[in-house]
């Protein structure tokens, strides 16, 4: 795994200018960084950067379907299963007198053993009672183990040049020649075109394969084609990203993109962009610092995009969801406070300090949370503090309290009369529901209860407020 052992493929044409291998491994200057970023660092470097970018786009686009078909982990097994194929192709080509380091030969071997791995998973699922996760685990580790054995045999026995095979494990764009990059780019480009042409069919099979089959679509063939596209992207990415990390390019961009959109075509586009950007940044960094494996940089870039998406996305993001939860809880807390204020006000009383403490302890509010609720309600003019530390609701506050109290009783009556729930058990449920009843639902409840002749007291303390 010593990067120093990696040599450029012998058939790579002599670089025009600024070969990747020539870049010193010290920290690059600003001018060098800008030149590489803007594709002015020489033809060979540019080809590798563009090729890796296109690979990222292809992985992002095709990964969407692997994700939606719930095959993400199968792609992981597939990429690990390519290793023995690489080694065997090298040995086989050597035995036949062909140059074993020729990239198309190695990639063909990789594809063959990757496909064999997937077939093994399917066979295990078909003929045994193993679950999919176990089948994937077995195939992944056994094939990878076999690959390591084959590679170590080559290391020990084959003639020079065998060490270059290691680059397929971690990937090394710096070792790529222009022809390698062009091969990778054309495979990736072809895969994207096929995926976009079959967007409709792939979507149908991913969403509802039974419906597709009944409609006469060859679901098996479409699945096979999808796996074929995954194989193509995986194999194309072996040299640049390495077989351990290439799966991340298929999984992370679509998952990150999923946080931002509910539309399939947008998901495909966004995932392609994230994948492409990761590929671009990864190969630029690798061009500037040839000893840094591009695969890791690409995956880290995609991972950073994922982390940001997960936190910041407006609808599905974690922060947004947390904020919605906190807002909801605060609203419910305010509802409870005003409800008690309202029910006390029916007897002409304000809420005393002791009554507020009791409410807080029943609701398990910490001191700061109680303070927050009261402060918010006060700022909104829904209640004011009395001189002795209690609370008195304003007109608006009392109206809201009355509404909550009424909703509570409506739901309570509904449960007792329609759902046959014992009166002693409805309080908790009513407590949860009273805050989320929509106007439409309230109207429905009123008509349901009215029809059954159940009268709901619009006012009046029907129960002891906590």
């Amino acid at each position: 795994m010593d990067p120093g052992a990696i040599q450029p493929a012998p058939h790579a044409p002599p670089p025009v200018t600024g070969s990747l291998a020539e870049v010193a491994d010290g920290l690059p200057g600003v001018r060098e960084i800008v030149e590489t970023l803007t594709l002015r660092a020489g033809f060979n470097t540019n080809t590798v950067i563009l090729g890796t970018t296109l690979l990222g786009v292809a992985a992002g686009v095709i990964g969407v379907f692997a994700l939606l078909r719930k095959r993400s982990l199968v792609t992981d097994a597939l990429s690990h299963a390519t290793l023995p194929g690489i080694g065997l192709a090298f040995l086989g080509a050597g035995a036949l007198g062909v140059d074993g380091r020729s990239l198309p030969v190695l990639l063909a071997g990789a594809a063959a053993s990757g496909v064999l791995g997937v077939v093994c998973i399917q066979a295990l699922l078909r003929f045994t009672r193993l679950r999919e996760d176990a089948a994937i685990g077995i195939v992944l580790s056994v094939f990878f183990g076999a690959g390591v054995v084959v590679l170590s045999y080559i290391q020990a026995n084959a003639a020079s040049g065998a060490a270059g095979l290691n680059k397929f494990i971690y990937g090394q764009t710096a070792a790529m020649g222009m022809r390698d990059a062009a091969l990778m780019a054309s495979i990736a480009g072809g895969a994207v075109v096929v995926a976009l042409l079959l967007l409709k069919e792939l979507t149908l099979v991913c969403f509802d394969d039974a419906f597709a089959r009944v409609g006469g679509w060859p679901v098996g063939a479409i699945d096979l084609l999808m796996m074929g596209l995954v194989v193509l992207v995986t194999v194309a990415g072996l040299q640049a990203v390495g077989l351990i990390l290439v799966v991340a390019m298929l999984i992370i961009p679509p998952v990150a993109a999923r946080f931002w959109t509910e539309r399939l075509w947008l998901l495909v586009a966004l995932s392609g962009v994230i994948g492409g950007a990761s590929g671009y940044l990864g190969s630029v960094v690798s061009a500037l610092l040839p000893r840094k494996p591009a695969g890791a940089v690409i995956v880290l870039t995609a991972g950073a995009v994922f982390a940001c998406s997960m936190l910041l996305a407006p609808a599905r993001g974690v922060l947004a969801a947390g904020l919605r939860m906190a807002t909801m809880r605060a609203r419910i807390g305010a509802d409870h406070t005003l409800e008690v204020c309202y029910e006390l006000s029916l007897g002409g009383a304000a809420m005393s300090r002791e009554r507020l403490s009791r409410l807080a302890s029943v609701r398990a509010w910490p001191g700061w949370y109680r303070w927050l609720i009261v402060a918010t309600l006060e700022r909104r003019g829904l209640l004011s503090r009395t001189p002795d530390g209690g609370l008195r609701a304003s007109e608006a506050g009392l109206a809201r309290g009355a509404r909550v109290s009424r909703n509570h009783r409506l739901w309570e009556q509904y449960l007792i009369s329609h759902a046959d729930i014992a009166p002693s058990h409805v309080d908790w449920s009513a407590d949860q529901v009273e805050h989320v009843l929509s106007d439409e639902l309230i109207a429905q409840l009123e008509s349901a209860l009215g029809a059954r002749g159940v009268t709901v007291p619009g006012a009046g303390p029907g129960r002891a407020a906590p």
Partner: protein, 273 residues
């Protein structure tokens, strides 16, 4: 399938006296097994055209399996199935399908209209995008189930009943003559139930045939013309008025078919070890 092969060579179902070529669905001696364990034994059935037909029976009676086996979604151990006297391959453009709602992941990034458009894919063909005309046709189907206002809504944002209606609209978009529906009334709200019943009656009014897996015995007589009482075999089938009797229901639900299920268990055990 192997057991059916010799039969298929000698005669089609339409030649057999008890099967008619007008029948949208003719099943002869169909047996379906999961992992070698038979769940349906020797089903013989002829669906009359232009009727609403309910498949009724206890849990595990093979109700869903009956329609899946007929369409070839699950492999048949033996038996022959024809649609208007033709094999399924030749007739499938005339067959529509509403699967059970739980069979798909509703957190899928498509809108209600996108799902209904899937019913049009067959007539659109390979590699071509959904045209405006097809979108309008899908929109009309959404309107028929009362969801025109929800076309752009992401499907996870729909209620269970609305999701079920989207599935129904997708089947309508298939413009079929025979519809298989797998528990369309399961767990839906009252509004959805009314909408589905209305659609079923409209389909019958236009000469279509609908075969529904149904779980609610109370509504069978209201909603359906014909009923198939099923418990691993067809206990009785025919017009609701004559077949949906206390006696037949008792045979379907009450009397446990111990021999059939014991035999099925034995076959499964013999195969596994």
């Amino acid at each position: 399938m192997n057991a059916a092969a010799p039969l298929a060579h000698t005669a089609t179902l339409a030649d057999r006296p008890e099967h008619s070529p007008e029948s949208p669905l003719s099943i002869h001696a169909m047996t379906v097994a999961y992992h070698r364990k038979p769940v349906l034994w020797d089903v013989d059935y002829d669906a009359p055209a232009n009727r609403l037909i309910a498949i009724v029976g206890p849990n595990g009676a093979g109700k869903s399996t009956l329609i899946k086996g007929a369409m070839g979604l699950v492999p048949r151990a033996s038996g022959l199935v024809e649609f208007w006297g033709q094999p399924y391959r030749a007739a499938r453009s005339r067959v529509g399908y509403v699967p059970q709602r739980e069979t798909v992941d509703w957190d899928f990034p498509v809108s209600a209209l996108d799902v209904v458009c899937m019913g049009r894919y067959r007539s659109i063909g390979w590699c071509r995008p959904v045209s405006g005309a097809h979108k309008r046709a899908a929109m009309a189907c959404l309107d028929r189930v009362g969801l025109a206002g929800y076309a752009g809504r992401q499907i996870s944002q729909l209620s269970g009943g609305q999701q079920q209606r989207v599935f129904l609209a997708r089947a309508l978009a298939q413009e079929a003559d025979l519809y298989f529906m797998d528990e369309p009334f399961a767990g839906v709200d009252a509004a959805t139930e009314r909408a589905i019943v209305e659609v079923l009656r409209e389909l019958r009014g236009r000469g279509k045939t609908v075969i529904c897996v149904h779980h609610d015995l109370q509504t069978v007589a209201d909603y359906f013309d014909e009923v198939i009482l099923l418990n691993m075999r067809v206990v009785a089938a025919g017009p609701v008025r004559t077949v949906f009797t206390r006696d037949n229901l008792h045979k379907t639900y009450g009397g446990r078919l111990t021999l059939l299920s014991e035999a099925a268990e034995a076959i499964a055990r013999g195969e596994v070890g």
